[in-house]
Symmetry: C2
Subunit: 674 residues, 2 copies
């Protein structure tokens, strides 16, 4: 093959940025020589946007580079089947595989990651409506009667505000010929006298304006100071209104959540959340780490999350009318991999035995240093993590739940894309991560989806004919089943006898919704005619198996932690459920399938995103921030991957609800009563 090098663009591109020349669009992924003698057009439907690519260009790559949001959890390896698009016209070279059937391909469906463009084409990209962005912080919209008192609004209002940022009106002594020390010296002296803060650091940019500001304001000024570092953040005329804000951010594997906090009143001036755009490089942590090993992969992942953060900041500032210059601190929480990617530090060894992070605690840096825009030189702090798979988001959650301050035994369970748990009280804490896998986020389940609009989130099976009734997020026609729906479904199937204790279908009960199609048994949850995509929404034995393994991982994690300290399920005084799944889960169903401890439902608290709540508390009080360091150092980390007891417990958990029924008295009663 001959390459035409003339007119080639040799440049770096970030995702979503696209270089245009006079007539053509080229895709030089880094410096890459391509045959640009033939360029084909790709028309995106339904939008009608047209892009142009060289012959044989990878279709998924072309779409991603052009800013189109193509779902994929395997990062383009052809194993997740999520980057499916439909070719409306034109020629591509695509290969069938496990994740796409011949019949589907006959209808024009292909996996874009496995397709090469061979001519002008028209592509239909499935439109997944996002659930309306809504922050799921513990302090808002808690289900009635399920609010754990220590974290509700009243409690936060009572939290002693001892913020990082201090504002103080200062009168600086006027110099005379006999007292002609420097402006800086007299300023520092006045601040020390008024606030007690020593070793005040005044950056050059403030010094440059200091002499004029002091004289123009008759030596009366308002100073804004970082009490923690002694850094003078701002100095302004005493008469001007002072405002300063902070940002609390949780970087979840799936979702970013941000609060804009008025540090003078401790009120939340605005909240926003958005999907983590890194999803397109891989749905879970492992796939992200794998992507980071590619050339420039780490940089792409970093740029991707920073880009989304910038958008959230811009939105919050715009909506609230707050000036970015008034934002002085940003407090970031997230799991270890997300935090590594946030700082641009390689997460490679998080994935390799013995699973160590580069750092659990990072130095504070300026926003600009990380590429964060709009908030000037605000200082960025992050919450200390415990280990590779027990990150700062968990430390933050423990702070938010006050687990480390309670005398009685608590279990903290963060069920997001990963499952992390901490058991303990004010004396001790032990934590672990149970690699639940992405099943509850819809991964590894054919009709599984994230909690988007159109997701089935509740399921009840009619006793007589085994028909499913369901509730859909956003009251749309269903597109798939999300985590809470899957847990409900699994519980219902077990209770109603659709499946047995091993998760196998009972084929002899006259279940007309159990159908054999494409060489597998499928239990139909929503019929083709009712679904948004006009295809059946169903569950298979393979799906069920994946779900059972996920729930077994969570429960055996809990049991292993308790056994490690010679305690039992019955000793748990309170369960704090956090995370995306933790907010919407039907605990009753989760108990039925043996995922959560079979204890009084009133002992469960549903807290949503405790990671961002903890970050918010740290913004309000630097003592709380110091407390997170203590928490992180106090939690003993248990590595389950080499724990033999965990393995035994896990295997026992591969039955419904468990091999060992004595911990599930309620489930036993339910089974007999039905």
């Amino acid at each position: 093959m001959k390459y035409k090098t003339e007119g080639l663009f040799h440049c770096r591109m970030h995702s979503g940025i696209f270089l245009k020349s006079e007539k053509i669009y080229v895709f030089p992924q880094r410096i890459k020589i391509m045959d640009i003698s033939k360029l084909f057009s790709i028309k995106i439907l339904p939008d009608g946007k047209i892009i142009r690519v060289p012959k044989n260009y990878n279709l998924r790559q072309a779409l991603l580079e052009n800013g189109l949001n193509i779902d994929s959890s395997c990062g383009g390896a052809g194993t997740c089947g999520r980057c499916r698009v439909r070719i409306a016209s034109g020629k591509v070279h695509a290969v069938p595989g496990k994740k796409i059937s011949k019949r589907e391909m006959e209808k024009g469906f292909i996996l874009s990651c496995s397709a090469e463009v061979k001519g002008d084409i028209e592509v239909i990209i499935p439109q997944v409506k996002k659930r309306k962005a809504k922050i799921e912080a513990g302090l808002q919209e808690l289900p009635e009667g399920k609010i754990y008192k220590s974290i509700d609004k009243t409690e936060i209002a009572k939290t002693k505000i001892n913020p990082w940022i201090l504002k103080e009106k200062i009168t600086v002594e006027k110099p005379t010929i006999f007292y002609s020390t420097s402006d800086l010296f007299r300023l520092k002296k006045s601040i020390l006298e008024k606030t007690g803060v020593k070793d005040i650091k005044v950056p050059l940019n403030i010094l440059k304006n200091l002499p004029f500001l002091l004289r123009e304001n008759n030596w009366e000024v308002m100073v804004v100071l970082n009490r923690e570092t002694g850094t003078l953040i701002k100095i302004q005329p005493a008469s001007e209104r002072v405002s300063f804000y902070g940002l609390a951010l949780d970087i979840g594997t799936t979702t970013l959540a941000m609060h804009l906090v008025d540090l003078l009143t401790s009120e939340i001036a605005g909240s926003a959340s958005e999907y983590n755009p890194q999803i397109k490089y891989g749905e879970d942590i492992i796939n992200r780490i794998v992507y980071s090993l590619k050339k420039d992969g780490l940089e792409e992942l970093h740029d991707s999350v920073i880009g989304a953060i910038n958008e959230l900041i811009l939105k919050l500032l715009k909506d609230s009318g707050v000036s970015g210059d008034d934002v002085s601190v940003m407090m970031v929480s997230g799991n270890s991999t997300m935090i590594h990617l946030f700082y641009g530090v390689p997460p490679k060894f998080i994935r390799e035995e013995p699973y160590v992070t580069v750092a659990n605690k990072f130095l504070n840096v300026s926003a600009g240093e990380l590429g964060i825009k709009y908030i000037g030189e605000a200082e960025v702090y992050s919450i200390e993590g415990v280990a590779s798979y027990l990150g700062g988001d968990i430390t933050s959650g423990v702070l938010a739940t006050n687990l480390s301050g309670r005398k009685k035994l608590s279990l903290f369970l963060d069920l997001g894309t990963n499952g992390e748990l901490v058991v303990g009280n004010s004396q001790w804490m032990i934590g672990c991560s149970c690699s639940a896998g992405p099943a509850f986020e819809g991964g590894g389940v054919k009709c599984g989806v994230r909690a988007v609009e159109g997701a089935i989130e509740k399921v009840v099976i009619t006793e007589k004919d085994y028909r499913c009734s369901y509730e859909v997020i956003g009251e749309e026609r269903p597109v798939g089943i999300c985590g809470s729906g899957l847990i409900d479904l699994l519980g219902e199937m077990y209770l109603r006898g659709v499946i047995d204790r091993k998760g196998k279908f009972n084929k002899d009960i006259g279940n007309s919704y159990l159908r054999f199609e494409d060489e597998e048994y499928r239990y139909i949850v929503a019929e083709r005619k009712d679904s948004a995509a006009e295809k059946d929404i169903f569950i298979t034995e393979v799906d069920i198996n994946n779900l059972i393994r996920a729930k077994a991982a969570v429960y055996s994690g809990i049991k292993t932690l308790l056994e490690e300290v010679d305690l039992n399920i019955a000793d748990i005084d309170r369960v704090f459920l956090a995370g995306g799944l933790g907010k919407n889960i039907n605990v009753q169903s989760a108990i039925v399938i043996g995922m959560l401890p079979d204890i009084d439902l009133n002992r469960y608290s549903f807290l949503g995103n405790t990671s961002v709540t903890g970050a918010y508390l740290c913004l309000l009080s630097n003592e709380k921030y110091r407390l997170t360091e203590k928490i992180a150092n106090k939690i003993t980390y248990l590595e389950l991957s080499v724990n033999m007891k965990f393995m035994d417990r896990y295997i026992a958990g591969l039955f419904l609800p468990n091999t060992d029924l004595k911990d599930f008295p309620t489930v036993e009663r339910l089974l007999y009563s039905l």
Copy 2:
């Protein structure tokens, strides 16, 4: 006048940078509309370079903007007479004034600052050869027998080296599945165990490579650490050679001096010095401050000195073969105005009563933040000053002379463009600045020059016919008289009776070298035929008056300080002479004119640039750096401008050697013996 705006360049220019279009050179000083319909050429002789300017453009500005080094101490105000050039052909509009006579103008000489270009011209720029760059640090080339022991090479070799920078070979514990703390944690632990340094700060750029470096080198690495801040500067394979260097820099009003120091051996790997290019904006501190008030003036002054520093660094690195990445610290010393300009902080209020600095002590910043190149992110420190007119250069000098460590009384005298003094011992110190003016640098003296090649630096008057014999720097034909030459000349004139005690010429002694020309009496030092510029080199009564005022300021400063603490000239155990003038001065002559105390000559030490020597010591030992902070805080500053005793002393000093002769027994004896 009509302006043609088409094709105009609207841009900012730094000095020496010049915008070229296809055929013309334009001079838009900031955004300025000029008539560019007529462009005239300026041919620079002897080089032959051609530049083009619009009609009526200021000639000095055109030359400066084109990178030509035009001398001027008044910043273009037309009062110093130093920007003189000769028009070889063509038309300019120039006005005669005090600093240029009609006769000179008839010969084509003009002041370029007062000239507008009216047509194509040819200009001859006087070529002043610079004295060969040679650093004048206390530790090198001291005149034999005049070395003060505590500061010679031997002593510095004995100085306990306790550098900022620490290198240590570290073995980091390998992680296991049961000890899976972060790489950072284990690194910090090993460093703490080996060095005792806590709170180690590891910047992001090092973190990003840390995991790979540790594993590739089997957990054995060499770390380079800033002991002071705990910042990890570098980490590299244990097997690689470690080298780290520091830069010691003195920013003088006239000269920059720099040492490149090997921080492992404490040896000086190279030294360089260069004129401070800010000279073109004004020769002394006051003129620089005035220039800084102009629009963008501060930025120009800052850029100017940083540019020169970059050149010095580049030269030192090139000559020594040292890599800029190995330079970790830069220690800067200088007077308060120079340090303000170095940091880009406005020096405005240094000039206005009550004369306060913005700061005497600045936070350490990274080199890049100031625009310093070639040395990566080396940290830049500066030495704390005492007051507006007693800067870090004096603190540094006090450190270098060990004045603050001596029990006996010392007088430290820094005679550069300004004169600063400190009197004291290990118990107390008092200091002041005597506004000597630029007379000893050649300012305010018609034939005065700086200590360049061709400067007359020693003068003896032949008794019989009052003819001067002289020595010239570089054995060239003379171009003028520098500071030490002027002091010699004044002393000789007084001793030989050429002038009386008031500094007036004795016209009745038959002195054939005293001539009346251009409406003034001139005492000829070198005849026209012998001089490089083919004009007489002479001194006038006005010049003498300026010199007497300068020497009176120095001596009355010394007396006032001593009286303040009830001490006398005779109590002085040692005089440390520092600064450009302090190195080359003939002390005997300085005593004769009543500038320096009339004490045993053996009590004088000549130390050259003590500012850079102090900075060098601070590089070797951070204890020395901490000591400078103590020194700066210990020196009591005396403001002479409002001191009535100083005024009395000053007026008494306007005679030769002084109104009060009792402090000058040697001079009296000399006068009688002649």
